[in-house]
């Protein structure tokens, strides 16, 4: 059974009497410990999708299930990390990351003790007394991620977590996040508009269409870890993904059958009508 199962989610906003459809029957699944990237054009409804998955918003139709239990409109099942780090400027780092534990009713001292053990894993050891404004962008992101992980949910939803970082820091955050994922084994959903980010991190990439968003196709990323962005295989995946994003055809991409073509070739269902851009 899938850890997280999203079925036929449909959502429209009504603005000044006009109906603005955002999601159109979006369905996907994530298995326990899987890293799933959701990619799509900007403004396609990715954030709305995540708010529904996190229980902050109810869809017009469809279901969200965690371990088979219906969780639509009920927050607290999926740990959510929004685009901005949203660290509280009035709390020191340690008191920022224990927010989810405090909400659950844990005493501050106990919560701090638990968080302190995790600081080294998140590269934050020695900074527990710093205020967020004293930290670099990468450290703030890691603090926000630690706070997300300390919600102690099996499923973690990250909404473009590294969008605001410079390329160098972002790359470091990628290898670090891949490492944390390998260690902690949580199910991770990642929204991104960065094809390379999706391919570096994810086991599976789900591509959404323009608004109203629906799932255009899924790509299983069968590349060894750690991923090497300079390898020909990675480039082949990237090329294939970009091509599919451009032509918008639907289907499920499959890995290359053994012994067919060069090892880095990615076999996708035939694109009828040829590869126009």
């Amino acid at each position: 059974m899938a850890k997280l199962s999203v079925r036929q989610l449909t959502k429209a906003y009504v603005e000044r009497g006009r109906r603005l459809p955002v999601l159109n029957a979006v369905s996907f699944e994530a298995h326990a410990g899987e890293f799933v990237a959701v990619i799509g054009p900007s403004g396609c409804g990715k954030s709305t999708l995540f708010e529904i998955v996190c229980g902050l918003l109810a869809a017009d139709a469809g279901t969200v299930e965690v371990d088979g239990e219906q969780v639509m409109g009920r927050p607290g099942w999926v740990a959510y990390m929004p685009q901005d780090d949203l660290l509280f400027p009035w709390r020191r780092l340690i008191d920022n990351v224990i927010v989810p534990l405090e909400i659950k009713g844990m005493r501050k001292e106990a919560a701090r003790a638990r968080a302190l053990e995790w600081l080294p894993v998140f590269g934050l050891a020695g900074f527990e007394e710093a205020y967020p404004s004293q930290l670099s962008g990468g450290m703030r992101k890691r603090a926000a991620l630690l706070r997300t992980f300390l919600t102690e949910r099996d499923i973690v939803a990250l909404d473009e977590p590294f969008g605001a970082l410079d390329a160098h820091t972002r790359r470091k955050m990628h290898s670090w996040l891949a490492d944390v994922h390998a260690r902690l084994g949580r199910t991770i959903l990642l929204i991104t508009h960065d094809v390379e980010e999706a391919l570096v991190l994810a086991d599976r990439v789900i591509v959404l269409s323009r608004r109203p968003a629906r799932v255009v196709f899924e790509l299983a990323v069968d590349l060894p870890r750690p991923r090497d962005v300079l390898s020909p295989a990675f480039a082949a995946f990237k090329g294939a993904l970009l091509e599919r994003l451009a032509d918008g055809k639907e289907g499920i991409a499959s890995p290359v059958p053994d012994g067919v073509g060069p090892p880095w070739a990615v076999r996708l269902p035939a694109t009828e009508g040829g590869g126009k851009r």
């Binding site: 708010e51 927050p75 959510y80 709390r91 909400i103 050891a125 020695g126 900074f127 004293q134």
Partner: protein, 280 residues
């Protein structure tokens, strides 16, 4: 180093003030201005020293008590009503517009009315101070609570936080900065309102001292009173700022942050610890 820089930054204003006082002194002496019209700074200083004993022992405690207690009354009332306006939509639609509009009414005109109602005791003075200080505080509380970051509230909701937890964890801290900004404005009104209230009639207080001195054309004593009132006003302002720094210790880093952004080589204290190296 920092002290030297601060001194150098303030040097122009100090020098300019001294030059103004010197020009004033020279003008009064050269033009032989009668001292009941405009006393020289030296005459004001003499009057200040001569009446220092009564000013400090008799008049100052009265005025400062009125200003301080009135300010605290305004703080209590402002926090309660500001919170209510934020929490109850009906209060926002009924009370809040009146609050905003009444800010434009110069509350000093209420002083004679308060005397009619409450006589010449301490109560009308406290009330005038409280009314003058109330509006900036109440509006600051509403603004502060309203300004709480929607994203932060959403994040807390995603963690399953209850409304009271959202209020304590995000809304209250977010409102504190705004509250202190309102409090600073209110503090500058407080001493002024106490002095104006005393003009209506009082046993003691700096306002009384100023009015009595004016009636007997001891103009240098009027100025001496004005100097003290200004000093106390500034003093109350400084006290509010000191409390703010104690209550909101993180703000200094915010300011440093914006400072260092212009000058990124000195960015705040961050250096990676050795054990974190492998992650970065």
């Amino acid at each position: 180093m920092a002290v030297w820089r601060a001194a150098r930054e303030r040097f122009p204003v100090v020098a300019f003030s001294i030059a103004l006082l010197a020009a004033w002194e020279a003008a009064v002496r050269l033009l032989d201005v009668p001292k009941y019209l405009l006393p020289a700074p030296s005459g004001i200083l003499n009057a200040l020293i001569a009446s220092m004993a009564t000013l400090v022992a008799v008049h100052t405690p009265v005025t400062l008590a009125e200003a301080g207690v009135g300010l605290l009354m305004a703080l209590a009332a402002g926090v309660v009503t500001g919170g209510a306006v934020h929490a109850f939509p009906l209060a926002r639609r009924t009370v809040y517009p009146l609050l905003v509009v009444s800010q434009t009414v110069p509350v000093m005109v209420l002083a004679p009315l308060l005397v009619i109602w409450f006589g010449y005791g301490a109560l009308p003075k406290l009330l005038l101070v409280a009314i003058a200080c109330y509006f900036p505080i109440a509006v600051a509380v509403v603004d502060g609570l309203d300004s709480a970051d929607a994203g932060m509230l959403k994040l807390l909701r995603s963690m399953g936080a209850r409304p009271w937890q959202q209020f304590i964890m995000v809304k209250v801290p977010a409102a504190l900065s705004s509250l202190f900004t309102g409090l600073r404005v209110a503090a500058s009104y407080a001493v002024m309102a106490a002095v104006v209230a005393e003009w209506m009639g009082a046993e003691a207080g700096l306002g009384t001292f100023i009015v009595r001195s004016a009636h007997s054309f001891r103009t240098e004593h009027v100025f001496a009173g004005i100097v003290l009132v200004s000093l106390y006003s500034v003093g109350l302002f400084v006290v509010v700022d000191a409390v703010r720094r104690r209550a909101l210790p993180w703000e200094i880093y915010l300011r440093e942050d914006t400072w260092h952004r212009q000058d990124s080589q000195h960015r705040a204290p961050v250096e990676y610890p050795s054990q974190g190296g492998s992650w970065e």
